[in-house]
Amino acid sequence: MSILDQPSSSPLSGGGVTRRQAWALVGLLAAAIVAWLVFAVWPDWLNAILISKKAFVSAILNGLTLAGLYFLVASGFTLIFGLMRNINLAHGSLYLLGAYIGYEVTSRTGYWLLGVAAGFVAMAIVGVVMQVFVFRRLEGDDLRQTLVTIGISIVAADLMLAVWAGGTYQIATPEWLDGALTLPVITAVRSNGASVFLTYPLYRMVVLAAAIVIGVGLWLMLNKTRVGMMIRAGVDDRAMLSASGVNVHAVFAIVFAVGAGLAGFAGVVGGSALSVAPGEDVRYLLASLVVVIVGGMGSITGAAIGALLIGLAEQIGLVYFPTYGIVLTFVIMVVTLAVRPQGIMGKAR
């Protein structure tokens, strides 16, 4: 094994440990620390520093759920960007419109799943329409495309305000998703020796699971299917893909449909976990922007990493330094830009 490894171990590494092995060690160590933090009963000094174990683990879980939501929104954003070099600044509007449509369908029919499907399908259609009527006309002029999406987001925000007014809506989740889950995490030990376990809303766990499933699904689609192959080829060299006989416009339309549909899906799912209100479009646009800047443009893995970083930073910031939470997000972005301008998983341009 070691002999076989010899030629492939990179010349960069000294001391017998390859770079990859070093990173794996660091990762294992970090995982061990996190596992200990989550599962062990905390000593008093740690509780004193981090308020309480319950607050800490809840912040982590909330961060993970939020990261799942951010990933859903940002993955569509990064896909569209990666393929078409177009920053769809109307992406936040797609999120909000999807949420409103999901609310309407759910409250009229009573079926939450139908609302989720409606959010996805409606936004996928809107995405294709935008692709055909806007982006195809301004092909190759990414600045104008971006300006047009700004115009669309202005009009969309105003029209949504006209239809749904300024109120806050909450999409009702079905009964089978209500309730709380008791996690095998001991937050404290009572004086009589009984352990107190952490409970967490079931729905948020489902959101996290859905994000992971969709993330894996997207990765499989991109890496294992023929369409995914075309998309990846299009990201690398659009002209060459077109020259080899692939209908690039169809590929663009598919990507736009999936990306916009995911934003609508995230809108319904997020609108059930949190709430639907004007201004959410800007919030999720900002989240997508930062996630994609940090993670690297055009990379699904990057979007996942960026979403994790930003979601965790936001929730941990909310618990430990409430009014400066947004600064933490910002610092992450600036540090990433300073160290790796193309983002963590981005390709150097």
Binding site: I87, L147, G151, I154, V290, T323, M333
Partner: protein
């Protein structure tokens, strides 16, 4: 630079007038006489406000037109100056308010704006083109949320109120006529400065960097330093506009630096056209007029739809905004203005 100054001084009066251009002189006379015919509302709410936003858009035009850097953070920079005026000067919100006299506050506020603009530039020049737009949008949004959440410095959601324009030489500078001339003075000064700056060595270098950064780097120019300095200059303009804005409104809150306003500034600059500094003011007048009077056309709350649609149509039809449309409709005039322009 000293050479051009010397020749300017030596030139006879006739040539100097010639150089200024008939259009500019006519415009200046019209603007100086405008208060004779206009009501107070048209003086401040329309003309003054347009000129403030014109200067803001001009700071964006300077970056985008000459430097190729499209920024959405100009209102953020202006907001920093506005908040600085509120914090260092007097306000009635009972938070901070050091009560410094205006002639210390204003330079400090503008300097703060210029330095933060240079910082934003320093962060964003690491990337190019469309990415700059993304990063500055993220910065603008993050600042907005920060100002909304932070009570120690920004006084949170309510911001600062009760900020008064200075009173000196026996004039209250927030009265309609003095305020109009104040705005006009700043607008004319910044317009002239940008026009002059675009023909200076620095301006030429910046435009060359916009066209081909690699070649300029190979020629030995420090590309990043030039770009960051352009951000610094744009920050001065935006900071001055921010000072006037806070005097105009009498208050500053997170809403002043919201994302919608950031986009408004971009809309103004793009609608006007990024080719020539006058475009910024044209765009400002068009957008402010629309914002004010669209209520009568499309009802109370739907003016954003109208503005968005007009913006969409202009972006679709003419990439160079109103200036581009003008150039298409009147090719002859366009050539004339090109000769007079940069």
């Amino acid at each position: 630079m000293s050479l051009t100054a010397a020749t300017d001084g030596a030139m006879p009066q006739q040539n100097w007038l010639d150089k200024l251009g008939a259009a500019h002189i006519l415009l200046a006379v019209a603007l100086l006489l405008y208060p004779l015919v206009a009501s107070d509302f048209f003086l401040t709410q329309i003309a003054g406000y347009s000129m403030i936003f014109g200067v803001l858009a001009l700071s964006l035009m300077l970056l985008a037109g000459y430097g190729g850097m499209l920024s959405l953070a100009q209102i953020t920079v202006a907001g920093i100056a506005a908040y600085a005026v509120a914090i260092l000067g007097n306000n009635t919100s009972n938070v901070l308010g050091f009560g410094w006299p205006w002639w210390i506050v204003v330079p400090f506020a503008v300097a703060a704006a210029a330095v933060s603009s240079a910082l934003i530039g320093w962060i964003s020049v690491r990337t190019e083109g469309i990415y700059t737009l993304m990063i500055t949008l993220a910065i603008a949004t993050a600042t907005f949320y920060f100002a909304q959440q932070n009570y120690a410095i920004f006084n949170g959601h309510s911001g600062y109120a009760g900020i008064h324009a200075p009173v000196f030489w026996g004039i209250d500078w927030r009265d309609p006529k003095p305020f109009y001339y104040l705005c006009l003075g700043l607008a004319a000064l910044s317009y002239a400065a940008v026009l002059y700056g675009s023909r200076s060595t620095f301006g030429m270098t910046l435009q060359a960097i916009r066209d081909n950064p690699r070649r300029m780097r190979a020629l030995g120019y420090h590309v990043t330093a030039h770009k960051v300095f352009a951000w610094f200059l744009a920050g001065i303009l935006a900071g001055l506009a921010g000072v006037l804005l806070v005097w105009f409104n009498g208050r500053v809150s997170p809403g002043t630096i919201g994302v919608d306003v950031a986009i408004d500034v971009l809309v103004i600059a793009v609608i006007g056209g990024l080719r020539h500094p006058i475009g910024s003011f044209l765009g400002a007048i068009v957008v402010i007029l629309m914002q004010t009077f669209a209520i009568d056309i499309v009802g109370a709350e739907r003016f954003n739809t109208l503005i968005g649609l007009v913006f969409l149509v202009i972006v679709f039809v003419s990439p160079d905004g109103i200036l581009g449309l003008w150039g298409r409709i009147k090719p002859h005039f366009a050539q004339e203005s090109l000769r007079a322009g940069p």
